[in-house]
Symmetry: C2
């Protein structure tokens, strides 16, 4: 096949954009194990989740059989405001590496929130509005998810309270400003607005906060506010479903040009970007129609797939969520604070975990300094400053392309560029002044 | 004509992208007055400029007759790495305003430097490489131009020294980090690396610096470094030429859909974005083929067109540049430091000045707080956080759309969204905490 005519930046025309999401679980013989109620240890029901989540999201969370779920018009409308995300042929990088491999990447960072998170934020805000809710709560660590939710809530006309880990709110004033510009209330966590926040502050008034604590505050606030629910930006299966738009756009474009990727690479924290990117390719593989390699890349500091245990565990450090069967480092695992980015989650989405367990998916780790070395190289050659998270995928994509150079094989590589690093320059400052550690 | 089918975000396919720049001066009966040598007061010659600028740029600066100048392949190659910039139909904004007007905007902020500046940075770096140079110097105030030059020099393999106004380097650590990540040397100005910097530091060791001083340092450094020249990001006519890619992409897309804009609006500091956006539309107007209104928007704090004098003046505060016939507030004019953004220049490009003098172009002013009010409204409705500079155009575009609502006229409005505000959130922080003044 010839792929010479693939433009450097391909944008799917509006009329060809996907109208449905793809539910990977419907293609799996071995379904992910059900979530269990933390009290009864019985499979969770829709009724269990209703005080916390929106109805449509609960339905999607529990749906293991519908292959394609139509995207409501009200969500497609918002998607048109920032999608399609370009599918880019890395001609410059290929040339610089001298590799026979063809490298493509899907750039999800062209919206103001700076990452793929907006794909699920839009859906969750839309469904909240549909349920007649007036407000939402959430937490944010690195800030991408909080920014995305603030944008989506501004668009659909919902109040939003974002509990931002206190140290992040202090270290990332630009993220805080962005979230507030979109009209959300930003509360550094722990705070005195919740009982659990107060308790933590009593114990340690100078605590810098944690994601676990911010989650607990956001859930408490949602449960105690009328017409309000809680939203989460990763880990859950309905989030993966919304993110399938990433892979579907790639698949449609590739099919038009007769391109079949041999290797598909995504970074993995909670698993939402990876699950979205691989969705249609994993479905083909599960149907025996493809033998493409699917690779998850984790930071070596937080290796849940590669070094974790495949078992039931809590989704949060405070042990309040349902139990999820997943690869986990233990819900009390906290990676070294010298490590940056949105990949610091102790566990992994249950579908991704099952695919890894069944060897549909491989996993690799990358060290922080080599990730930033790849990031800066990529920025200079391709002209896009990547998010630290995305740079894990870049690092492994370069490794695979160099392996092709050694072997002479002309493989086709696709990786997910989940976002840009524009609001998160402090990590680059560390790298530039050589104070970054592995 | 029907424009119902215009997609929300239109990307010009690669094969339809412009292959030439448009030189507005070739279409003008009244050419802009020539630049004068500051010593002899005679029209400047190519030889006068050669110690400072690259050869091709000098040729373009002095060329008043060639209508279309081919873009070299080596520049088109880099353009493909971040162009086309989307032309967006503001369906959401139209609906929110309830206006019969059709509103379009050209989004030049989708590249990592965050603005249109990269269009000229790419050209100037390419020509420097072609001249056999090894290094360039420049200055940057707000940081957009410095970021763009750092990216272009990384791509073409040139050393770059950026003199950044000291107070900006301190207030915008993320801009500094971005420029350094792309491998440029960033020197807060004034510095001890130049004679003029030393003199200023002797007088006032605690000075916060100024753009005039940074320009002087960059020129001195270029002139005293072998195989090195100086590059400037606005004001000059070769910069406007490179920026004509903005308007040309709009024109090609509009022609495909049978759209004729009635009003074209751009913010104006030195004039490069405005000149680029209006280029093909001004050419039509100068040929009597169109009566579209062309509107420059200035900050009320720096109203060079609307309140300046049309006369010869220096381009810099240090009075070292050639004399330029332009609308100017006087080369010693310094707008209040409470005002933000890249529109603080005392003068205006000579072509823009002549077009305004000849009433081809209108000019309007906008106050800072009303500009940010428009910016935040736009961000919430359209989902893109605009640069403070671009928001001047947004403010007037909204005014014109509301005028259509009053009159019932269905006009077609195009404005230039020159960039995003991602690296420049401090202004939004001021607006959010209500400490911003007019």
């Amino acid at each position: 096949m010839t792929t010479k005519n693939f433009p450097q930046r391909y944008f799917l025309p509006e009329e060809e954009q996907p109208k449905s999401w793809l539910n990977i679980r419907a293609f799996m013989k071995n379904k992910p194990a059900p979530m269990l109620h933390p009290g009864t240890k019985q499979p969770i029901t829709a009724a269990d989740l209703e005080p916390v989540f929106c109805k449509a999201c609960i339905g999607q969370e529990l749906d293991e059989t519908t292959e394609f779920i139509p995207i409501p018009d009200g969500i497609l409308e918002f998607y048109r405001a920032y999608r399609p995300a370009p599918l880019i042929r890395a001609y410059f990088l290929e040339k610089a590496l001298g590799t026979p491999a063809e490298i493509y990447y899907k750039h999800e960072g062209t919206n103001t929130s700076g990452s793929h998170k907006l794909n699920s934020a839009a859906a969750q805000a839309f469904y909240a509005k549909q349920d007649g809710l007036t407000g939402l709560t959430t937490e944010t660590g690195a800030g991408q998810w909080g920014s995305a939710m603030a944008m989506a809530c501004a668009f659909y006309g919902l109040d939003l309270t974002v509990y931002m880990v206190k140290v992040s709110a202090e270290q990332k004033p630009y993220r805080k400003a962005l979230i507030e510009t979109y009209g959300a209330e930003l509360i550094p966590s722990p705070s005195s607005t919740t009982e659990c926040g107060k308790k933590i502050l009593e114990k340690d008034p100078n605590t810098s906060g944690s994601l676990g604590c911010a989650i607990s505050e956001a859930i408490e606030k949602a449960v105690h506010t009328p017409k309000c629910r809680y939203v989460l930006g990763s880990v859950l299966n309905h989030v993966l479903l919304h993110q399938s738009i990433i892979g579907l756009e790639c698949k449609i474009a590739f099919d038009k040009y007769g391109i079949k990727p041999d290797i598909i690479i995504g970074c993995a924290g909670g698993g939402s970007n990876l699950g979205g990117l691989i969705a249609p390719f994993a479905a083909e593989k599960l149907q025996g129609k493809s033998d493409a390699r699917l690779i998850a890349v984790e930071p070596s500091s937080c290796p849940s797939l590669t070094e974790g245990k495949f078992d039931y565990d809590f989704g949060d450090t405070a042990q309040t969520t349902p139990l999820i069967k997943m690869y986990t480092l233990g819900c009390d695992f906290i990676p070294s604070s010298s490590h940056v980015g949105g990949l610091r989650y102790h566990g992994m989405n249950s579908t991704i975990s099952q695919l890894y367990h069944d060897k549909i998916l491989e996993a690799r780790t990358a060290k922080q300094t080599e990730v930033f070395e790849a990031a800066v190289k990529f920025a200079k050659i391709e002209g896009i400053l990547p998010a630290p998270e995305s740079s894990h995928a870049i690092k492994i994509a370069i490794d695979e392309a160099m392996e092709c150079k050694r072997s002479g094989e002309k493989k086709t590589i696709l990786f997910g560029l989940t976002g840009t690093g524009y609001f998160d320059m402090s990590a680059y400052m560390q790298y530039n002044d050589k104070s970054m550690k592995d």
